[in-house]
Amino acid sequence: MREKTRILRFSVFDRLFHLFIMVTFLIQAVTGMGRLLYATTWGKWVVGLFGSYETATAIHNTVGILMMIAFAVHIVYVLFKVEWRTPGKRLFHPDSLVPRFQDVVHLGQKIRWFLGLGPPPQFDRWTYWEKFDYWAVFWGLPLLGVTGLVLMYPVGASRYMPGWSLNVMLLLHRAEALLAMLYIFIIHFSIGHLRRGMFPMNECMFAGSVELEKELKEKPAWIARLQEDGRLEEVMVPGPPTWYRVMYFVFGYAVLTVGIYLLIVIINYRNYIEWH
């Protein structure tokens, strides 16, 4: 019976945000890459899928605005989550995603373990790479959003900043987008799918829950803390139904395919990427 015990890791809201950003990120990646590589046959083909260059641009712009709205909603959501009576305690609590000194220690321990010089770190609820995932999106989104908005309304924007800074914004937008794509399609995908115990897919972002058995190995400090507080029973939840699992496996692998395809395109067409 114990193998089947599952504990809650992501609330419905967390999972919805993740689903939303998966879909919108892919749309932006495809339309953006199509426009970036518009001088090539591949770019013309992809942009053609959306109708025309203008429609691809319109989709890119609209989805960008949607993402910014979702980001604002996320901020409000997070602000409500913080317990403002004791902010200092809660913000640096192991349940919070705010980086702590402990994360640096964990990274050091991890490298030590890589070199075979010591035991692996005892992770709590959020590991340092998971926090990096979160904060990378957290600063990438506003950067892409602001530079994108400026490029969407270049004439209006040049009233508040010199016109030549649009050149800089364009460069920032492209470089940051490239970094985001490379990071997601290489690092995020391989950590989520290729690790032992995770292969073929880390399901927790869809199922919302994880097997206690696995977490005892992955995040021992978290489980120990739950047991100490006597909250382990509280967070136990039933597993996802089979139909739902089938759905998210199909969806997850579809996203994975598109991402890896885009990665191949980036590598293939690297010489055609115009930075200006």
Partner: protein
């Protein structure tokens, strides 16, 4: 008139003529905003307010060639172009008529207006003769570029907007450090960021995944009672 008188008279004339020759400030002003661009205004219906300079100077919004600016920006500081003040930039060039713009201006043909926006060179640079950028009456002269060129498509384009570098210099090139420093340093910053983040995490995941895989293989080989000894590498 005596010889002396003639000398005095001609000297006086000379002095007078010197005085006369001093141009009055009003003569230096080549434009009365209403006259000079009348036809343009009649056809477009706006722009008279941006005749020579932008009316209000905003902090941090500098216009090259017009005012001083806090952030340096000088297209052409690194190279001296000899043809940039001509009325016909291609005067005396052999075989000009037979060739297309991009045959000679390879780098200038690679920018988003032409590649993606489907804008032709002549929509900005005009018909023959193509004026050099800095020729006084050139439509692309920074003092009127926004009104004469950009505003044809970007409604309401102002002088600040026109400082956008349509033909952006290659961001990583050494010359760009002088001509467009903010672009140059942004490029390096992002480059180091990408290489740093990707380099670290690719190495990190490679070692991690292969080490886990290795432990899995070893565990399968091992007898169950040995497992407890090696708790260190359990993960």
């Amino acid at each position: 008139m005596s010889a002396k008188g003639r000398v005095i008279f001609s000297l006086a004339l000379l002095c007078l003529s010197l005085l006369v020759a001093v141009p009055a400030p009003a003569q230096e002003e080549v434009t009365s905003s209403i006259r000079r661009y009348r036809e343009r205004e009649a056809s477009t219906g706006y722009y008279e307010e941006y005749e020579v300079k932008p009316r209000r100077v905003r902090p941090f919004v500098g216009v090259p060639g017009v005012g001083r600016k806090p952030f340096p920006y000088s297209p052409g500081a690194a190279e001296i172009r000899t043809r940039t003040y001509l009325a016909d930039s291609h005067r005396g060039l052999e075989f000009y008529a037979m060739r297309r713009c991009e045959d000679c201006h390879v780098a200038e043909a690679k920018h988003s207006h032409t590649v993606r926006g489907n804008v032709t060179c002549r929509q900005c640079h005009g018909g023959e003769p193509i004026a050099s950028i800095n020729h006084y009456f050139s439509p692309l002269n920074p003092i009127r570029r926004h009104a004469y060129v950009c505003a044809k498509c970007h409604e309401g384009a102002n002088a600040s907007f026109a400082t956008f570098m349509v033909h952006e210099p290659p961001a990583a090139a050494a010359a760009t450090r002088k001509t467009f420093p903010s672009l140059y340093y942004t490029n390096w910053f992002m480059y180091l960021l990408i290489v740093g983040v990707m380099g670290f995490f690719i190495l990190h995941s490679l070692v991690w995944i292969s080490k886990e895989f290795y432990h899995q293989v070893m565990e399968k080989k091992r007898k169950p009672e040995d497992e407890r000894k090696d708790q260190n590498s359990a993960l």
